[in-house]
Symmetry: C2
Subunit: 118 residues, 2 copies
């Protein structure tokens, strides 16, 4: 599960939505941010990441990955350059895994108070 998180960050860095989507189960859900409508299924998830990456956003881990039961949970920031300024969003993701070690549920916790420079 820890390796999956590192591959997630590396795949994002490489701009490969396909590599990110490959970490997910075929019937996975992504809720980003929590409370928003969920993306359901690997195809919808890949499209979502393609769009995210188009902003030039980069992820930076901000602490150890917490691993327990079927979860990996980690703090990070999303950093992007937009309209001449540096912007940052502080996020915590929860990844829940299935028995095949695929992410079956992703939830991203961030809100207005976590957005900086916007």
């Amino acid at each position: 599960m820890e390796a999956a998180v590192h591959e997630y960050v590396a795949a994002f860095e490489a701009g490969s939505a396909e590599r990110v989507a490959a970490l997910y189960a075929a019937d996975a859900t992504v809720e980003d941010p929590v409370g928003a409508p969920k993306y359901v299924g690997r195809e919808a998830i890949q499209a979502f990441y393609s769009q995210s990456m188009a902003t030039g956003a980069k992820l930076k881990l901000l602490g150890p990955i917490r691993v327990v039961a079927d979860y990996a949970v980690f703090p990070f920031s999303v950093n992007l350059h937009w309209e001449g300024g540096d912007r940052r969003i502080d996020v915590i993701d929860t990844f829940r895994f299935n028995d095949a070690n695929e992410i079956i549920e992703m939830r991203a916790f961030w809100g207005p108070t976590n957005m900086h420079g916007f």
Copy 2:
């Protein structure tokens, strides 16, 4: 919700399980760590915190509190001195709140890889 997290840390620092329990709804659940049996109800929750505090453990926030929808989520460490050594556990808690701004569900994400000095 952010104020509740700060009061949580302060109440823990003050060694007051009663103040911590007062942040919870009467029918709240605490799952610490995730996957363990849940403590249900304010009385059981207060007993759990009394026991935790008896170890002399202190909490230290390790980054911004993520606030979204009915959740506050935050990275922190539990620090304790035990059998002559300093021990640390890296944790991420998710607090879910009800309409009365009471914590209705707490989940603590930490596992063996997050325990240091034990």
